[in-house]
Symmetry: none
Subunit: 246 residues, 2 copies
Amino acid sequence: MNTTRSGRPALTRPDGTPLRVLVVDDDPDLAEVLSGALRYEGWRIRTAGDGASALAAARELLPDAVVLDVMLPDTDGFAVLRDLHAVKPDVCVLFLTARDAVEDRIAGITAGGDDYVTKPFSLEEVVARLRGLLRRAGMARQPDEGPRLVVGDLVMDEEAREVTRGGELVELSPTEFELLRFLMRNPRRVLSKAQILDRVWSYDFGGRAHVVELYISYLRKKVDAGRDPMIHTVRGAGYVLKPVTP
Amino acid sequence: MNTTRSGRPALTRPDGTPLRVLVVDDDPDLAEVLSGALRYEGWRIRTAGDGASALAAARELLPDAVVLDVMLPDTDGFAVLRDLHAVKPDVCVLFLTARDAVEDRIAGITAGGDDYVTKPFSLEEVVARLRGLLRRAGMARQPDEGPRLVVGDLVMDEEAREVTRGGELVELSPTEFELLRFLMRNPRRVLSKAQILDRVWSYDFGGRAHVVELYISYLRKKVDAGRDPMIHTVRGAGYVLKPVTP
DNA sequence: CGAACCTCTGAGGGGCCTTTGAGCGGCCGG
DNA sequence: CCGGCCGCTCAAAGGCCCCTCAGAGGTTCG
């Protein structure tokens, strides 16, 4: 079976081959980070820096999905979207856009089944949105099943953004939710504070690892509250999430 | 079968040939120490002193992994990472960075599945991280199986950073963990205190061999506690770890 | 426009880890 | 048999890691 670089079974095309994703951004560093994260999901990645080379790459790769910066040096994302649909009508598109970008045009996009995230984003969010898109479009085969993450009696419904522990609802803020999602996607594995920062916080976050400690303590108060702890500190290494009794 | 210089079966590429690793550091002494340790793993090593020659070497060697100093005389780590991925998209990268540069521009690097260690590091840590990377990337074939070390009834899960003896959990500090990992990777072999210092402690450690004795005694208290001892002293030579009944 | 919520910073404190030093016991050589 | 060396352990200092509290600034929502 095709697997991610983390060992977890990968989200694949229906025939089991790796999903193909094209990353289009004119910032080479950002494109590199993005494609690294997506490659880590076990997918096949290509990058492009402008609209013209994006189209050329798309014609060659026939990607299942495209991560597309709205602001490109030679053209804008919407024009590229039209051309992409001409090349491959069923392609999924995830837009990258500035926070204060034109909301109305973006709104029209999501109606077509595509989606967007605003810069600066976290990699966890990009990956999650992309997985959601591919799943809903029927382009991806679920190795596990459904959009639910389960670790012990802790259950996360990613689409409903709902978390329960032992059946009880746990209410989380956005950052808490993303942190817990990252932990739940890597159960029984020690994650360093740097790893967590890189995945859960925005790529331009300048802060220190201290925030991770803080949010771990928030999560503990809500997820572990009064119960047997699932979140453990590994001194000098990081944090682990694991079921109470393995 | 391909083996390490120590006789232990080596971690190899899927086809059984030795893994190829490129070491890039502008300090020749450090590069030498590193490549010595990696060669000891049974891998094929090349070194480079700057970004340009690193790329040239990469094009020729097509390495499975690169150990890469972030501070290079001619360029920075991010640019090299991009170029390396262009040469070989599935290459694993382990960055070496100064402790106070961690916050700097490392952001996003671990997100792609790559990893880093801060200077001063221990060789055990570098080797362990590299093995982890290669294993997760599916570039390495397990001679034993999985990310678990087993000696007798002593079991170490490196990813969960969990150790059990006879099923019972053994809690270890970071240094204790690394020392035990070194012992478990070299079972039934006498390791001198100097060897242990060189591998487990940082390369700039100024202390004396006395610490090794102390940490061995800590390990005994936790690992051998009340049970048949697995850690043995070989007077005048060093220490051995072996199963209770060979 | 106000209130609630969320995120992040800074400071304080507690506890674990690492290292050092010293003392003791046992093994080995003289 | 005795002295010296090697290894083991205890005790304590210091540092570092981690947790928590309190509050400011920003954002969202009513």
